[in-house]
Symmetry: C2
Subunit: 228 residues, 2 copies
Amino acid sequence: MTTAQGARERARNEVTAAIKEEARRQLAAEGAAKLSLRAVARELGMVSSALYRYFPSRDELLTALIIDAYDALGAAAERARDTAGDAAPVPRFTAVCEAVRTWALAHPHEYALIYGSPVPGYAAPETTVPAAARTGMVLIGIFRDARRGPGLAELPLPAELRPEAERLAADLAPDLPAEVAAALVAVWAQLFGLVSFELFGQFNNVIEDRERFFRHAVTGLARGAGLR
Amino acid sequence: MTTAQGARERARNEVTAAIKEEARRQLAAEGAAKLSLRAVARELGMVSSALYRYFPSRDELLTALIIDAYDALGAAAERARDTAGDAAPVPRFTAVCEAVRTWALAHPHEYALIYGSPVPGYAAPETTVPAAARTGMVLIGIFRDARRGPGLAELPLPAELRPEAERLAADLAPDLPAEVAAALVAVWAQLFGLVSFELFGQFNNVIEDRERFFRHAVTGLARGAGLR
DNA sequence: ACACAAAAAAGAGCAGTGCTCTTGCAATGG
DNA sequence: CCATTGCAAGAGCACTGCTCTTTTTTGTGT
């Protein structure tokens, strides 16, 4: 049994959760750079050193928040995919993209935490990989579905990139052709380029109607990657 | 006369330059988060408070570095454009893209400073705008040149986005059609999406042959935006 | 050549940070 | 019931950005 394993364990889990909750509050309010162990402890009515019983370092706490952020974004993407139901590939794709953008706009600091500049000296541990992959999986799924039916056009693939693309396909989606896998990864990076530029202020004084622009851009992205 | 305007002024400029130089060294070595005024001062053999005569705050020093980084990237892009000479639009475009990527890989922390997550509470002042625009100008120039000659295909533009695209064209490149301006901005964001993903580690364990992948992706980008 | 004002540097200090180590207390389980 | 174990607290270290005051340097006009 994993519940009811002693009051001690239970209390520990509760305190851990409270710390993460307060940390997430501070993250949303001020950003990762201003997330302070001491402030979290203060808010929770404990002394800073006590926190180290729960998280061995500030970075470890950040890692926990990173995983949560990846999961929240992945869940938002999955929800959009499910809502889009059995629409055509392009609208399904754009629906997921818009969900990503909407989540990012609603949680800018958490987005910056996972897709912004990495903290120097901090390497994301393996633990984050599954959570990080969730959103990508949703995109892969859309391309996979598009292959059944007439929804996927032919794509060029230069010979010099074929080995890499084959490897990519084998790793990510063994049932997809190499050129689709390559296009998929490019689309993935470009999607987050659009979101990051908007969120990180590069569109300030450049683009006004960002929602419409985004919709147009991701439609182009979908078409460019062969979705029909 | 602006030179030889008193030894005092001259000394001031020299110290300012030395501070920026040392700061850039530390930035390259450890990243923006670990850039410390005290450490810079220490390295220069002065006391930390003396630095405030030259830069009113750490953020102001960062701003100076940001402008330098934008300028260096812009210069790299311009060099690539000039080297590409009168090649066809697509190779000229990819040459500039590869120059951007190469510069970013060579100066990861400076890249992160300008295209990574913004420092919370820090808004880039107007001063950075001209430097920031340089790289974009290079891309605009390529599209402009492509219009003379057969190098630019027709692009779709949804009616709902036309007003925004017209405004965009008027602001950025009055001699380009609205749909080209819109595509340009999207390409711009997507290019930096590719570079950021590689630099920020999202391609770890995903893409091996990053150079070839990048070349393929930006070629697709160019085609998608109408270059031929 | 010298005195003076302006500029620069130094020093002390404040409030904050992450993190470590020791000490004391209290709940748990044999 | 009491030893063990888990946890919180406190003090302290080495930092950070930044301010304010005092001292020193330095270019220049008389």
